[in-house]
Every structure is written in C-alpha cells, then in structure tokens.
C-alpha cells in the first residue's frame, strides 16, 4: 500500500450508543424458579454481548425492577462495565410506575447523549412480567403510545407463565409475546442478538420482535 495511505489518521468519535432498559417484574410470584431463570438469563445476556466487540461498546443496559416499589438496580452502562445482578422477588406488581421510571431514564439518557455529542440509535424498553399490574398503568400506556408514535422509544413486552396478556396488549403498541415455559435463557440469547443487530443497524433498518425460538404462538 502507498505510504500516504498508511499515514491516514482515523478520528475517534464517541461510539454510537444503543440504550436498552430491562424492565423486570420482581414481584412475589416471580420467586424461586422464575427469578432464578431470570438471573441466569441476565448472565447469558452479558456473556453473549461481551463476545461482540462492537456491541459491547455500543449497547448500554439499564435494569429497572418493579415489585411493591420501583428500583433502578443498574443505571445505563456499556456491556464491558455491566455486572449482572442477582435479583430477589417479593411483593406487588407496580408495573405502571416501573414503565414510567424506564421512560424517564431514557429521556435523561438521550439528553446526556446530545449534551456530549454522542450519536445514538432508537432506545429500547424490554419488559418481562408474570403477573398483572397492581397499580394504575394508564399514564404509562399513554406515554408509551406517544413515544412509539414519535419513534422516541421501542417498547417490547414479554409475558411469563400466568401473565395478564390482555393487559399487556393494552399497554404495548407492539404485540406482546408469551414466553414458553421458563425459557429465559433462549429469550436473552435472542435479545442479545437483537441488540447486536440494532447497535450496528444501517439506515432504514427496521426493528421488531421477529423470529423467536422462545415464545409460544
């Protein structure tokens, strides 16, 4: 190769970010087998994304749990800094408040991106629940509807076991999916792959819950 081409210097732009909030139901009904499977799933997510050098620098994961209260267990962090937590389960299902917290985190994050001149992809909220909300989800539903309409965020809902699928359908603009059994591992492998793709999306690529091996039809 010519000497001049070897001299070309590449600019280091801040990596483009792909933010994803994992919004997880940690109410009492999730205890024992489901929460263990969910914790295992989080480790799978971490391990799978870590093997992709581009995704591990671009994907930012945050974890919000909802039971009787809403907790930000992990604020946004890139995968290389992400330590999967071990979650416990007890109490009610404050889903509405959980969704609102997740939306707030995303709004805040986008502001930080803009302030730091970081380019980004459309953020995701990925909610997993096995129950029905014990608080009001009306504001959350309206906010999701509004965000989806102006492409502010992509909200996905996955129901486990006896989840109230009709309620999820009402809340989510996108068709909610039902997890087959406790196949959290398959779910998180799939989610990792989707995040890998999303974090390297080309112009006009569409996002969505597509071919899955983990959901019932």
């Amino acid at each position: 190769m010519s000497k001049a081409l070897e001299d070309i210097g590449l600019i280091e732009n801040p990596e483009q970010r792909c933010a994803c909030v994992l919004l997880l139901d940690t109410s009492g009904s999730m205890s024992e087998a489901p929460i263990a499977a969910l914790n295992e799933g989080l480790r799978v997510l971490h391990d799978t994304l870590s093997t992709d050098s581009v995704a591990s620098r671009r994907v930012e994961v945050a974890i919000v749990t909802f039971d009787s209260a809403v907790k930000v267990v992990q604020n946004f962090t890139t995968v290389d800094q992400f330590q999967p937590p071990t979650l416990g389960a007890s109490g009610n299902t404050s889903m509405g408040a959980g969704i609102e917290k997740a939306l707030d985190l995303i709004t805040e994050r986008k502001r930080a991106y803009v302030a730091h001149g970081i380019t980004y992809f459309r953020p995701w909220i990925f909610m997993i629940t096995d129950g029905a909300p014990t608080d009001s989800t009306e504001t959350a539903r309206l906010r999701i509807k509004d965000e989806e309409a102006r492409k502010g965020v992509a909200f996905f809902a996955v129901g486990v076991d006896s989840a109230d699928m009709a309620k999820l359908q009402e809340i989510s603009v996108r068709e909610p999916k039902k997890l087959r059994g406790l196949e959290f591992k398959e779910l998180f492998v799939w989610l990792s792959r989707s995040m890998q793709r999303a974090s390297q999306a080309q112009p006009d690529d569409q996002i969505g819950l597509q071919a899955t091996g983990w959901s019932t039809v």
Binding site: A4, L10, I11, N13, Q16, Q200, P203, D204, D205
Partner: protein
C-alpha cells in the same frame, strides 16, 4: 480520478451484495462529474437503485454539459438539482421495469461537479463531500443528514427527496474532491458536527496527487478500505471516490 466501492464485513456475513455504487466522468472541457450512492440496507434492490442513481446523474450531467457549461453559480446550482431529478427518474424507470415499488430501490445520492473555478455539490442522505485546496485547507461542502437516530436518513426515493437536497456552491479552485458513504463518516468526520478530520484527508489527498496509474491506485485504495484498522471500526459497505485536479 480514483474510486473504490467495497463490500462491508457485516454485509458479507448476511450475504447481501455490496449496495454502494459510484460513477464519474471528465468532460471534454475538463469538468469533473462524480456521484456515489449507498443503497438502503432494508431495500430489496438497493444495489440496483444505487447503480441507476449514479449512472442517471452522471449521464445527465455529461449530456447537459456537452451543450455548454453554466456561466454563473446559479446555473451550477440548477445543474446539480436537475442531476438529482434525472437520477430519480432513472431509479423510477428501473423500478417500473421490475414492476416493484420505488422504495425497494432506495439509496442515498451525492453529486459533485467541479472545474478549476467552482465546486457545485448536492447530497440526499448521509455520507459527505469534502474538498481540499492548494493551501492545504480541508473543507466539508456537505454533511451527513440523519434524524434523531444515527441510522435514520433520507433517500433519493423518498416522497419529499427532491426538496431535501443539501446543495452547496464553493467558489475557488478545488484541488481535491472526495465523496464518501456513511461507512466512512465515523472515521473521517468529527460527529455529530460533520467537520472533516484533516489527518484523514491530507494524506488521502497526497496519495491521489502522487498516483499516476489509476488502476494500481484503485487497488491501493481498495486495500486501504479493506485494511484491518478500517475493518475493525466499521462493517458497513464503504465507498470512497477521490479526485485530484491536474494542471
């Protein structure tokens, strides 16, 4: 004039053909005509759309300039706008031959027309056009166009495309003209501002100035775009067209 358009590693994994295209010509009067297009990843016939777009633009410009060059910057500005319109017509024709919707042929389009007195450029979508002058100045004449999200852009086939052309006229002697697709923009421009990174462009322009054999120059440019330090940073298709004005 040297251009290279190569396939990205991400697309190789997905077995999608290289969706970038480029075309260029130099008229008898010595006017440089150059166009590149990056096909939309989601469009079924993106590579055909990109190819028709650049051909349509360059054909039109060549025919049009045969009957005389514009006399003022307004004339050049119109010339570039017309080139976009003809590129779009060529893509529409291709779509109708396939009996497919025109959005299946979506691509970006960047056009540059340059003489030793003026550079007239236009762009729909991302990528950028960067020029260099005799004083070592490096200037972006267009900038990547994207929405809130980095992977949202506009395409030549969009309903409002022809009213969304980013045009620019630069008066002076453009010694070097380069056009590149979005695959390179994160490596060559400070983003999101879109300002050119001189350490990228100065050696590139030196390379083209030193290259006398177009064929070997093209090979050199391709191996540069394929080199590990580029491939580790992007897996998109890459198109880079770079030209030098020789006195």
């Amino acid at each position: 004039m040297i251009g290279a358009s190569i396939q990205g590693s991400g697309h190789e994994r997905l077995a999608v053909p290289c969706q970038d295209a480029h075309s260029w010509a130099i008229t008898e009067q010595g006017v440089l005509l150059a166009a590149i297009a990056d096909g939309a990843g989601s469009a079924q016939y993106a590579e055909k759309g990109a190819a028709r777009a650049v051909e349509g633009a360059v054909h039109y410009l060549r025919d049009r300039l045969d009957s005389g060059t514009p006399t003022d910057s307004e004339g050049y500005s119109q010339l570039v706008s017309e080139a976009f319109r003809h590129a779009r017509l060529a893509v529409e024709q291709e779509a109708s031959n396939h009996e497919s919707p025109v959005r299946d042929f979506a691509s970006t389009l960047l056009i540059a027309v340059a003489t030793d007195k003026i550079a007239a450029v236009g762009q729909i979508g991302d990528g950028a056009i960067v020029i260099g002058d005799d004083e070592d100045n490096v200037m972006a004449l267009t900038r990547p166009e994207h929405g809130e999200y980095i992977n949202e852009t506009v395409f030549l086939t969009g309903p409002q495309a022809l009213s969304q052309i980013q045009t620019n006229i630069w008066i002076g002697k453009p010694r070097y003209v380069s056009l590149f697709s979005d695959g390179l923009q994160m490596l060559a421009l400070k983003m999101p501002e879109g300002t050119p990174h001189p350490p990228f462009f100065r050696p590139l322009f030196r390379f083209i100035a030193e290259t006398s054999d177009t064929l070997s120059g093209r090979e050199d440019l391709s191996s540069f775009l394929f080199s590990p330090r580029i491939r580790s940073r992007t897996d998109d298709d890459l198109t880079l067209l770079v030209c030098a004005h020789v006195d």
